[in-house]
Symmetry: C3
Subunit: 145 residues, 3 copies
């Protein structure tokens, strides 16, 4: 594959970090929207969640999520550019995604994010997002006796 | 903002990693000292710890910490340059900070570090450090029945 | 030390990420083999495992490991180039290494990887690999009543 110049490598890493930052804000739906193309496919079917198409559907997914979450933390690591062709690329990152519910309890997901991204006049955007698990999810009870 | 050249981006990442490495050494107060400017503000008020001013106070904070800790691990990720202006910059990183006490038990903190850094003749140094939490701290008992 | 150009820094990070990716595949022995030189020393004595010499022995170690593991996740962070001299380098990374056994239960190791790497016609390869712990390993029982 073509060599990914450092400016693009940094921009791609920044895109993924910005995605996690918006998800962890628990409110920044516009920030999430800017990560994706208009017609992006947001496919969480690999981890038992829906597959959605289009920025409006992605925003609604996070609006629903933010309604029920009290805290979020999505730690990204093991960043890799797995293909690069100038105006499009594929990137993979590991993720530890933690959530705490307003109703109590929480979940920790340890897996990988996959993004197919395209260069647009407004910078790199995700056209396809998917995820798989590395370790079975860990559910924390909200308990108390 | 101005584009952060790769040399500076790498140097900024290296500064944060060197900070974590010194903190995890459990002894390297000189290493911690070199991270900060003489008059640095070290503000942990966002996570219920003191706000300190000056390298001597920061060293003393870690001297006290090292006295009581048996193990440390500070995992940094989601590195972002949030502002850059040639001779100063702001950077953010996620952190999972784990400590184990000599007296038994431990704590895990999941949050974010924020650094305002300045370019000096001796390289980039932190002039302001602060932190917030993403997930409530997790306390492990030292217990045993 | 000499300044590590961005192409080498990225290549070194990619090497470590590729190592974790192969380990987490639970099958890709060829992928693991390409990380190391023919005569690489793979020294896990610092964490209570054997020290091995040569690619064949390293492959066998992972063949044995893959036989008993049901899931793997190795999260790398805090990447640092600790020495660089054009055709050889030393790099360090933090690791959270999680394993789940087919027989039930699992282990989480929180430590650091150290690689001495050399430039070869086929890219950077690891000539020496070692590890230390930051936090004592955490063993999860395979539970049941």
């Amino acid at each position: 594959m073509a060599v990914c110049p450092w400016e693009d490598r940094v921009a791609l890493e920044d895109l993924l970090v910005a995605f996690a930052h918006a998800v962890d804000s628990l409110h920044d739906l516009d920030g999430i929207g800017t990560i994706f193309t208009d017609a992006a496919v947001f496919d969480l079917s690999g981890v038992g969640f829906p597959s959605l198409t289009g920025r409006a559907a992605i925003r609604q997914f996070y609006a629903n999520t933010f309604d029920v979450m009290a805290a979020h933390a999505h730690y990204l690591s093991n960043f890799a550019v797995t293909s690069y062709a100038g105006d499009k690329a594929s990137v993979r990152t590991y993720v530890v995604g933690m959530g705490r519910y307003k109703a109590g309890g929480g979940i920790t997901m340890r897996g990988r994010y996959y993004f197919d991204v395209v260069r647009t006049p407004a910078g790199w955007k995700a056209a396809l997002f998917s995820m798989d698990m590395l370790i079975p999810p860990e559910v924390e009870s909200g308990g108390g006796a």
